[in-house]
Amino acid sequence: MGGRPGARPPAAAGGVRVRIRVDPDKCQGHARCYALAPELFDIDDYGLSTVVGDGSVPAALEEKARLAVANCPEFAIEEVPAAP
């Protein structure tokens, strides 16, 4: 539903170990996540961020995902366990 189905990596490609989510009540539109990891976030005209697809992070982008988490001034992004 919504998002970009193609952005979800196939499990065969190493699987997904990390998912991320943005808390819409905390996000204030600093857009740090989008600047650091544009592959993983969408941003609207008001700066509010949402994860691409269901937030699954391809293995190659895990570092970028952690960077986004560690640079959000509102502590609005969190890592959650990947769906089994």
Partner: protein
């Protein structure tokens, strides 16, 4: 004038953000306060509190019920604000609380979105190149007055749809309002200059609307009626006031750092891919902006008895130097990976122009370093700093080539 100029007896109980030693080096004072008295107080210019820890500054920024934005000037007006009849709401959304804040902010945000800001980049780059052309062959320049100061005001004029020929005039008004706010006459002159200018521009656009921000505000309807003119004037004045010497100060401080730290300069020149992280780190280390809040009802905060009407100086620059949050907080680490800095504030008043400011800072540094990779200070003593609401170098002589 007495209390304003008297020497500071104690930074914990009598601080003065306009004291020359604070303007020159606030970092040492914040470090001392953080360990001894993390929320300082003064009775200068009215009862005022100064938090210095990240946790306290961000907690206050999020508590809009106790800490209102109805007064955001770091240096309060003495007596009645002279502009009150024309700007009953001040400069929304920055000087407002919800609900007025919410909808006025939504009007401005799309003008400073990622997508929109990308369309201003080529113009900004051309502007920077033209400025450098003007002094590159001379082997020296004032990187603050000849470069940093010249960039944001022209980008903002472009967005507002007003003439860039008036850039120096705009800069003068903005400095009167922010930098010389301690001088009531000068401050009133800046406010009147800005207001009279925008009143005339609004009248022009009513006859001949364009595609600029000012025209768009005039087209905006609220509950079926055109937006009140005082709100249009306030928002337009805000964009100019907030968008000029803030970013100019960030550009100037960054160039000061690179002039004074050859190892960081060489690293950035050698690895331009560092630029995005470096911009954030320079914003953290030299955050230009302090905003104020006013206490709405008596409240105890971290043991401090705050009274309704007291003012808070939202010390985002000190929060960004808090060693509890930032490893080696007083060192610039160009590739700092964990950097939740709050140079643009925190909570619902997060700087609406942050995307624009970042782009301008990045482009200004990229263009400067591409043309002038080697430069150094032409005498540390020649550098002058402004402080108060916005901190940054006002005179920054550098030599190169």
């Amino acid at each position: 004038m007495g209390t304003r100029t008297a020497p500071v007896s104690s930074w914990a109980s009598d601080f003065d953000v306009l004291a020359p030693e604070y303007v020159a080096d606030p970092f040492t004072i914040w470090d001392q306060l953080r360990s001894a008295c993390p929320v300082a107080h003064t009775d200068r210019r009215g009862s005022t509190w100064l938090p210095t820890r990240y946790a306290d500054v961000t907690a206050m920024a999020h508590d809009v019920e106790h800490f209102s934005s109805l007064e955001v000037a770091v240096i309060p007006f003495e007596g009645e604000p002279p502009d009150e009849p024309l700007l009953p709401y001040g400069l929304p959304p920055i000087s407002s609380d919800p609900p007025l804040h919410t909808w006025t902010r939504r009007l401005l945000l799309p003008w400073f979105s990622h997508r929109r800001v990308a369309t201003y980049e080529a113009m900004t780059r051309g502007l920077c190149r033209g400025l450098i052309d003007g002094f590159a062959s001379e082997g020296r320049a004032d990187a603050a007055a000849d470069y940093a100061q010249q960039i944001p005001v022209r980008v903002i004029a472009h967005i507002l749809g007003v003439s860039p020929d008036l850039a120096d005039t705009f800069t003068g008004w903005v400095r009167d309002v922010l930098e010389f706010a301690d001088d009531p006459e000068r401050r009133a002159r800046g406010v009147q200059g800005l207001l009279n200018y925008f009143i005339a521009e609004v009248a022009l656009r009513r006859d001949e609307p364009g595609e600029d921000l000012l025209s768009e505000l005039l087209r905006t309807e609220v509950d079926g009626a055109p937006m009140e003119e005082s709100l249009v004037l306030g928002a337009a004045a805000l964009v100019l006031i907030a968008g000029v010497d803030t970013t100019w100060s960030a550009i100037g401080s960054s160039l000061w750092h690179l002039a004074a730290h050859p190892e960081d300069r060489a690293r950035l020149v050698g690895d331009p891919a560092l630029m995005d992280l470096a911009v954030e780190e320079l914003l953290r280390a030299y955050s230009p902006v302090t905003m104020a809040r006013v206490v709405t009802t008596d409240v105890e905060f971290e043991g401090c008895p705050m009274k309704a009407g007291d003012r808070i100086l939202m010390n985002f620059p000190a929060a960004n130097r808090d060693p509890e949050v930032f490893d080696r907080a007083d060192t610039v680490v160009l590739d700092r990976a964990h950097n939740r800095h709050v140079a643009f504030g925190s909570g619902i008043h997060r700087c609406a122009g942050s995307n624009l400011a970042r782009m301008e800072l990045r482009v200004a540094l990229e263009e400067w370093l591409a043309r002038i990779p080697e430069f150094h200070l032409d005498g540390e003593d020649e550098v002058t700093w402004a402080g108060g609401q916005v901190r940054g170098p006002r005179r920054l002589p550098v030599v190169f080539g």
